[in-house]
């Protein structure tokens, strides 16, 4: 149970100078934690493009524009709800959320998508190899586009059980710390196990 004065300080109801040092330390630690969590991830430039593509597909025609103008908050006397036209927009927006130039793979019924994610700060390259690709290192690359040390890859794989390992900087074989399931590799280390499921329609 935290001293209520710490909560008051953090809620801006009490100055931090009112606290004894050990409680001021708790405030500092929590503020430090919040500051760390508040570091924004790198901006995703594709996100704006994706949203604008979805929106432009269905730019409102003159009628909808008039209806929207009429229903806009500044019009206090008229509250008009163009429900039918918004429904039309909704259908198209849902379809268009992924722009046509990024269609993604077509998956067979017995295929799924495996996501590989690992944190290797300072690594120059991270690959994944496993029983799904004859253990070929240097073929499936993880990427760290924003250089934050978090490497990712999404791979289409046959549904079922696969063993794998990461290869850092082309030479260091490392088990996936997030896999949660491991099996001895017979060479003195452990492979990670992944179960890939068919992607739900």
């Amino acid at each position: 149970m935290m001293d209520p004065r710490v909560q008051q300080v953090l809620d801006g109801e009490l100055p931090v100078t009112a606290l004894p040092p050990e409680l001021a330390d708790e405030v500092a630690r929590l503020e430090g934690a919040a500051a760390l969590l508040a570091v924004a991830p790198a901006a995703d430039a594709r996100l704006e493009a994706r949203v604008m593509a979805a929106i432009r597909r269905r730019a409102p025609g003159p009628v909808l524009r008039v209806l929207q103008w009429l229903s806009a908050p500044r019009s206090v006397t008229l509250r008009f709800r163009p429900v039918w036209s918004l429904a039309v927009v909704a259908v198209f927006a849902a379809v268009a959320l992924f722009p046509a130039d990024e269609p993604g793979p077509v998956l067979a019924a017995d295929e799924g998508v495996a996501q590989f994610v690992a944190r290797f700060p300072g690594a120059r390259s991270v690959d994944v190899a496993g029983s799904f690709n004859d253990w070929r290192a240097g073929e499936v690359h993880l990427r760290d586009d924003d250089h934050d040390g978090v490497w990712r890859a999404a791979v289409v794989l046959p549904a079922g059980e696969h063993e794998y390992m990461f290869i850092v900087d082309g030479e260091r074989w490392v088990a996936d710390p997030l896999a949660g399931r491991y099996v001895a590799d017979g060479f003195g280390r452990e492979n990670s196990l992944i179960f890939v499921r068919p992607l739900a329609p």
Partner: protein, 232 residues
């Protein structure tokens, strides 16, 4: 021994004999090729799946392990597959065993699941593939659940109609209840009480799916099908 090997080779499909050697040549140290090839032929003749053995050799080559250790690891793998098959045959002699199931049970045993637990599961679920069930139990045991309770929950789930890899979700649900603060007993009771309803596994975000690519050297289609043919 030599005559056994010759007999084994006679009964082996030509494609299997040629395919394995072609896949490992150039990818494992040269001295390992012939011995590994022999082990694979013997295993094939004995009706064991050879793909895990090919994979073990390729894995050793990729990890730059020396020839002797690769041969030993492939031989060990063959032994583990044979042991797992013997275990399954002992419990359910009539039931066919798919490669996917055999690989799953082998891996669950390597993960540390006691052979008696595999027998217990196979006996409790006659006619069902045991692969996903044994991994589900191994998952629970790995998270501190005792073996008896884990087997009981997974068997209850299978009997309530939960099938295939969805059994892993049962184990996950129990583990998550503990992570949310329940005791293991309460978690077991809660998950058991909600069967056959189990939370669905997370789906990859659409942005991730759109980005996903196939590896250039994906598994041959036959192997891919074989891996999944009993698991769903």
């Amino acid at each position: 021994m030599k005559s056994a090997l010759v007999l084994a080779l006679v009964g082996l499909p030509l494609a299997a004999q040629q395919g394995a050697r072609g896949r490992i040549e150039g990818r494992v140290p040269a001295p390992a090729v012939a011995p590994v090839d022999s082990i694979i032929r013997v295993a094939a003749a004995a009706g064991l799946p050879t793909e895990p053995l090919v994979q073990k050799a390729l894995e050793g080559g990729a990890k730059k392990v020396d020839a002797a250790r690769i041969v030993a690891a492939v031989a060990d793998q063959a032994g583990e597959l044979a042991a797992a098959r013997a275990l399954l045959r002992r419990t359910a002699p009539e039931q066919p065993i798919s490669p996917a199931e055999l690989i799953a049970v082998t891996n669950a045993l390597v993960r540390g699941l006691a052979p008696e637990r595999v027998e217990q599961i196979a006996t409790a679920l006659p006619g069902e593939p045991t692969g996903p069930a044994v991994h589900a139990v191994a998952d629970m045991v790995g998270h501190g659940f005792d073996e008896d309770s884990s087997v009981a929950l997974i068997v209850a789930a299978a009997r309530s109609g939960v099938r295939g890899l969805r059994l892993l979700d049962v184990a996950t649900a129990a583990v998550q209840e503990v992570q949310r603060g329940l005791t293991r007993d309460s978690a077991l009771a809660k998950v058991n009480g909600e069967l056959p309803n189990v939370p669905l596994p997370p789906q990859p975000p659409r942005a991730t799916v759109a980005r996903a690519r196939r590896p250039a050297h994906a598994l041959p289609p036959v192997v891919a099908r074989g891996r999944d043919d009993r698991s769903q």
